[in-house]
Subunit: 69 residues, 2 copies
């Protein structure tokens, strides 16, 4: 798997762990739902600014978000 | 400071710690020297694919690269 797929798998796992829908999670991140969906499918080369939004929405540091990747 | 500046400061500190020139480090990363320079100046919204290249060049995981950010 490449890094985009690893990130996608990690985001999906963290989101499901918290029982967030993609819609709810996209609002928390202030990102578009379809963008979140494509990240989870491993199709996005996510930027650090958006990674920070995602980490904050999970109440994690960037380092915690990328743990084990 | 915003996340781009935080990343820039971190990359510069790690590079200097290893006494790498920007030229040498850019070759390790397989990224352009001017791109590395602009990252260190906090001007780049670096993507995860390039962050992975940088982490590998420092022989760090992504999580280690982004520690304390």
């Amino acid at each position: 798997m490449d890094i985009k797929q690893d990130i996608g798998k990690r985001v999906r796992m963290l989101r499901k762990q918290r029982d967030y829908s993609q819609e709810y999670f996209s609002q928390l991140c202030d990102l578009d739902r379809t963008y979140i969906a494509s990240i989870e499918q491993g199709k996005r080369n996510v930027s650090i600014v958006n990674l920070e939004k995602i980490a904050k929405a999970f109440d994690l540091t960037l380092s915690e978000l990328l743990k084990d990747i």
